[in-house]
Symmetry: C2
Subunit: 144 residues, 2 copies
């Protein structure tokens, strides 16, 4: 139940138009290492998937996220959520009850990151066939 399925129409249309455009220009080279660092921490597999399920379902409990994100281990779930909390992408609300209850939700920052990734999801969805056939052609060629 995760994946592309969670994007709103407005975002999709915008990202699609954007994918058909021409290439790059200039902004600020000084920020570069900083930006690289941020991207490397934020653009990992589990972060992207958690971002999506939270975007789709709103507020969720620890174990709910665990069930929604296919194949994630408890360890990775805790670790990724802590990292996301640290970066300001999610809020963590603890209810002092027993058994424990902890709720996670996206911050506006986390939400905006989800939107930024929309273009990449759309790209992947759009170009699945192209990639598959490129790979098949490459492998066939190298096997000979």
């Amino acid at each position: 139940m995760t994946g592309i399925s969670s994007f709103r129409q407005a975002d999709i249309e915008e990202a699609e138009a954007y994918l058909d455009r021409e290439p790059p220009a200039e902004i600020d080279p000084r920020l570069e290492p900083l930006v690289n660092e941020i991207i490397s921490r934020v653009a990992d597999k589990w972060t992207m998937l958690i971002l999506e399920v939270l975007n789709e379902h709103g507020v969720m409990r620890f174990s709910e996220i665990g069930r929604a994100v296919d194949g994630i281990s408890q360890k990775m779930l805790t670790q990724t959520l802590r990292q996301m909390e640290r970066e300001g992408l999610v809020t963590r609300t603890i209810y002092p009850v027993v058994p424990p209850k902890v709720e996670y939700a996206l911050t506006p920052l986390g939400d905006s990151l989800g939107r930024a990734f929309c273009g990449v999801w759309l790209w992947a969805e759009r170009h699945i066939d192209e990639i598959e056939s490129a790979r098949a052609a490459f492998d066939a060629c190298k096997d000979k």
Copy 2:
């Protein structure tokens, strides 16, 4: 010389408008695992950086890319370029001369991926301060 600095004005404006929008909707949940897999292979550090320098410089030789991408080892350069070639993101043209000469260039597919990442670069650039202060606040709180 890499980083955000290489995006064209049209892309930047489009991505900026896009970052200010509201969240997600529905597309196709069946593609999900496939899309996840593609993203996990394509959204890694070196791929993103190579994508950028090629986008900025056009056709490049092996050692030129090595010089342009800060900190990459020969091994990772070869490995990443092969993978990108396999996915259909770059073309590899070998000139049978000595010493060897090999040229790399983005395919239209590789080029479109670069554009898809534009939104993420812009997001990171825009929110550096927010992330830094979230992190500082988190760490200060946990240290007590």
